[in-house]
Symmetry: D2
Subunit: 379 residues, 4 copies
């Protein structure tokens, strides 16, 4: 048995349909900087998927870049962003937000989330502080969907957050690095249309969701970020061959089955080219084979994660940060780690004590049923 | 006759050999952030090509990003970068260098270049100014090879620049966005080995030289930029799937013909997939079919540009900013513009008067002989 | 004869009337950060002097700080400031503007000034450039009154500049570090009321005009710079004991002779405490002894400079950068330098050749007739 | 009875001896930017007081400015500063540290302090994190002496902090905004000499300790912050008339009684000019009348605070954040607040519930015995 890869959801290239499109259009000539027809088409498809006909959509390259650029461009100098202590911007971006001039006000997380009441309290504390002019103003709330813990905000929670933000003049920004895995989770009740209605800015993650790279930043009301294009350029975040990102999101947001049915999703390429081929069996035949690829692409990852979680439950292996998406956090004892080492690539999370370690098993659009079978055999 | 595309050298996807590699390795599993074997292999190949065994090599996504990140990370807060008035950092980066905190000291250009004597004078002016502690210190010289005008620094000129820089404690940084077109020009006497010996930092451009995207920043002495990786992350410039860039530079720096001979360079894909197929005829049979793809890839562009320049000369159409690389700047009168409009995509440069306009015709690795034939028929 | 001091206009403490006020009110208790009654009174007086009843007025500590804070707070990230090559922000602020993230677009100066036509051309160049979204937008024009060369903008010139700025959506910002010397020059036709009508922001210099330190930034329409107070704090530019600056500007803008007549201007303190005592004779009896101290305080400096300029003319010593204010730039040959050395502190400006050097002789509110007599004896 | 002022320690002008010096030297001519003899003398005196003969000493204007400039100039871009959640840099500087590009890592405070073990844990967590290259490096520890709660670090605590910092390559920076009140507290065992030995940078506060404004930044090893002068200029923090600050610190660090004995400390100016006149009685005759003014100047404030604290204890009014310096935090019920309102200016701190509020009573060098008598009568 060859090594198994569950370390992260960005270990492989891209969904075969994307690679096909890149190959088929490789020598087309196009203007740069995202003004090409593929990028414009992708924007139109995303606007339609979001029911946000006026949205400005800019394609960036990665998640930290998206967060850094959006926060820097949307906030004014006297404003800070509010995030969970576990938020990606709080911890894992090498100080990118502060390097852009803004404080991250960290609020305690609950299951990786922050709530409207916390936001209310934070905003009110600033508003009523006699020294508030000596303090940064909370100007934006940052949340992730799914969160860094794999949990999901419900639509009601997001509506409450949006109300709290807007009642206090704050923007709501949602980081959708793994959004496809939220959209594919049966427990999820937050659609792209909801996001475009509730958020002032959000991004649809490509890097972790089947693209070679790329994140689509959606600004439902373009006035929210003036001169966004020039600011993107200034941040070094403008891709000369913008059409490379545009083509990827075009594929992700086209409607199947024509664009991405049994034929188009790559099954004819053989096993090595098709990360999703076992999907239909995996989810008991309920997998959608129609609709936008982006909304279907996370399904094998969710199915795989459910099998893993179920197996852990059966074997009595403790799970932490329970969640309905593609990440599984478990407490591995030394014996289990010994069984996995050298056989499975996993994510180290935290050492609890000499005998116990929290590890992460991430599934993705590219995880096959066979991969999961082999993993479960090892557990 | 279909439309002809001479507007820029980043209008197409990538060299077919790169696309093949991406397809062949698409579902390989790899760690992120450039620690994967492809990226490490690409680094080893570049170090070898540069005879710089200790060099730190980081893959970034685009040229403005490379300039912004390198300058910001290499300079200290009290330092400025010195560049030609025509330098890309002076004009076309939306203030990215200043947004990073550094002044661009602009020196007059001559054929797009600045000389060692100018750098000497600039450094000495600061050193001998009684108010120098109230002024930014010239800490780096920025040059491009080829320049924004398509001209080339000679090895002697670069050696003089390096001497001037190092005599005054300045770094020499070279922007190689179009470096493949310098390396392919017969007039060029500056090799990658020379660059690694003379420059403190330089980047090998991929975006305009056959890659989908990507620039390889080479730091011959890694101590020049401490904690470069973390700073790249902080700038939002770290690609999660670093292997996508790594694979591209791996292909560009592998040795042919095994890796990139008649078979590997994609001719079996048919005409639509092979931008370089007409190359051998174009340059009179002298085209190298061995060696690193990056050092061969610019040849069809140079051959095409020479044919265009020769034709302009024959027809008496004035050329400005004469240069030996892939960009041709010409003065088009209204009649010529009328003949080109709708038939040829070109780059608008500058309106001289009601009757005359400077336009740019750029060739690339993807320009075919037929494209040039058709263009010359129109001229 | 003791040494003579003509090196700059900030070599002494403050006008005696200011020192008196500080002493008389030293142990008053007051709230901090500029909310005290003296600061509020000073603001009211300045608003009245400027006929700008709604103006926001913030007291900063120094000129570079005022420029850095105002430009940083008034511009948006994608904007640049336009200035003469000789502008203080272009050269002598150690890159403070760029450290704040903004490019300084330098235009050629004529007598230290830039003209409306230049501003028009600069704005139009950006507006009509096909690549303007890749370039910083000229968002503000920076001028100094008097200029760094001591020259004055006329009211007509400022009106033209303001029109050009406002026609292109740019702010007009005026640096009044030496404004008292402009207001005291007979050639000047630009009043504080004119400045408040034409400029979007300007500052009234205290440091070089009789204060221990301090500059009063005037924003006729406060909406021009939102959250200015918090941004000042963020820049480390908010003085805890704001009343120290407030008291100084209160004295400078109170009306004499009650506040600053024969008695109040300090003559009773004896020679060592009164820098202006010889003033009345110096200007042939035309010196105003009524009105705001700030508008009278430059008179002895102007009178002294006129005597120096006249003497240079008589002796045939060449003057450069001719101007009607308190700085005199002259070409000194070696013999003259030898006569001055050790006897006179002057400002070194530029070495022309082995035999000739440009030096600056600056007068101030503290220059006495005797000082000038002694200097002329040496020339 | 007139109103009583206990709201803060920066409500008055300056110690009378400083005002005298400014008056006596007002029309002296001097070079700018801190190169004058007074500033150099002040530096020599501070070096001597700190037993730090090589220290670089720069005079800045205020505390937030000192923090912002020091932290920005001493840290490299990939580094963060570690501070207590109650640290001034964490809360009350309007995001100045982040605007300078650096994250503030907040650690829980205990009596306003952080301990060596916390610093150790923070540094080790970063060092051992597998993702540390994606995180900012803790590069500096920020502490205040006295803390924002008025408490004091012991010499042993500072030694442990310094050891922890230096073991992990971190700088130790101490904010001495109220340092005179630490030095005057009998409980204090940390001298200026200790600070210069243990800290990499610290500042001696003037604004809250008897000066009109000004903080003296001490860098025992000047190599710690290269090009500090130019960076200060770049931050807009360089005072043109540096001698105004220099003279103040000259007075504060001269040795009495010659320089500041019975005569020099201003008692001959009468009640309105001498904030310290009642001191000798206040501390039972133990007040030093010799030595540096800075080391004596806090004594009346400490004596006054002790009387207030004793009175609160006698009356059973609860004190919170107990401390030995010049700030007293007490829980006032509605009846007490009613007695104080309109009679005493105090600092509002926090509302505990409808009936109870934490308020601050701050004493200073300017607090008289009579002020305390009157306050106690009200309590």
């Amino acid at each position: 048995m060859s090594k198994l890869f569950f370390a992260s959801d960005y270990q492989e290239g891209c969904h075969p349909a994307i690679l096909e499109r890149l190959a088929a259009t490789n020598l087309e000539h196009a203007v740069g900087y995202g003004y090409d027809p593929h990028s414009e088409h992708a924007r139109a498809l995303i606007r339609e998927a979001c029911a946000a006909p006026n949205a400005e959509i800019q394609f960036l390259v990665g998640g930290t870049q998206a967060n850094e650029v959006v926060i820097s461009c949307a906030l004014r100098p006297w404003q800070a962003v509010v995030a969970a202590t576990s938020g990606h911007v709080s911890v894992h971006e090498a100080g990118a937000i502060e390097a852009g001039g803004h404080k991250v006000i960290e609020l305690p997380e609950h299951d990786g989330k922050i709530g409207a009441a916390q936001v209310e309290a934070c905003a009110t504390a600033w508003e009523t502080d006699g020294n508030r002019d000596h303090m940064v103003q909370p100007g934006m709330v940052y949340v992730s969907q799914p969160t860094e813990c794999g949990t999901l905000y419900t639509r009601a929670e997001l509506e409450a957050l949006a109300s709290a933000c807007h009642a206090h003049g704050m923007l709501l920004y949602l980081d959708g690095a793994r959004l496809a895995y939220a959209l594919a989770a049966p427990e999820n009740d937050v659609t792209l249309v909801n996001l475009a209605r509730l958020c002032d800015v959000f991004y649809i993650g490509g890097t972790k969701c089947g693209a070679l790279f790329g994140e689509a930043v959606v600004v439902p009301d373009p006035a929210t970020i003036p001169h966004f294009f020039t600011q993107i350029k200034q941040h070094g975040a403008l891709l000369a061959k913008g059409f490379v990102t545009g083509k990827q999101f075009e594929v992700l947001f086209e409607n199947g089955p024509q664009a991405d049915g049994a034929q188009a999703d790559g099954t004819q390429h053989g096993p090595q080219a098709d990360g999703t081929q076992h999907g239909p069996q995996a989810d008991g035949g309920q997998r959608r084979t129609q609709g936008r690829l982006y909304e279907r692409l996370g399904q094998p990852a969710i199915a795989a994660a459910r099998r893993i979680k179920a197996a852990l439950g059966e074997k009595g292996i403790p799970v932490c940060m329970e969640n309905p998406t593609n990440q599984t956090f478990l407490v591995a004892d030394s014996a289990l780690l010994a069984r996995l080492d050298g056989r499975v690539e996993y994510g180290f999370w935290e050492r609890l004590d000499a005998e116990h370690t929290v590890i992460r098993l991430a599934t993705s659009w590219a995880t096959s049923e066979q991969d999961v079978d082999d993993l479960l055999a090892l557990l």
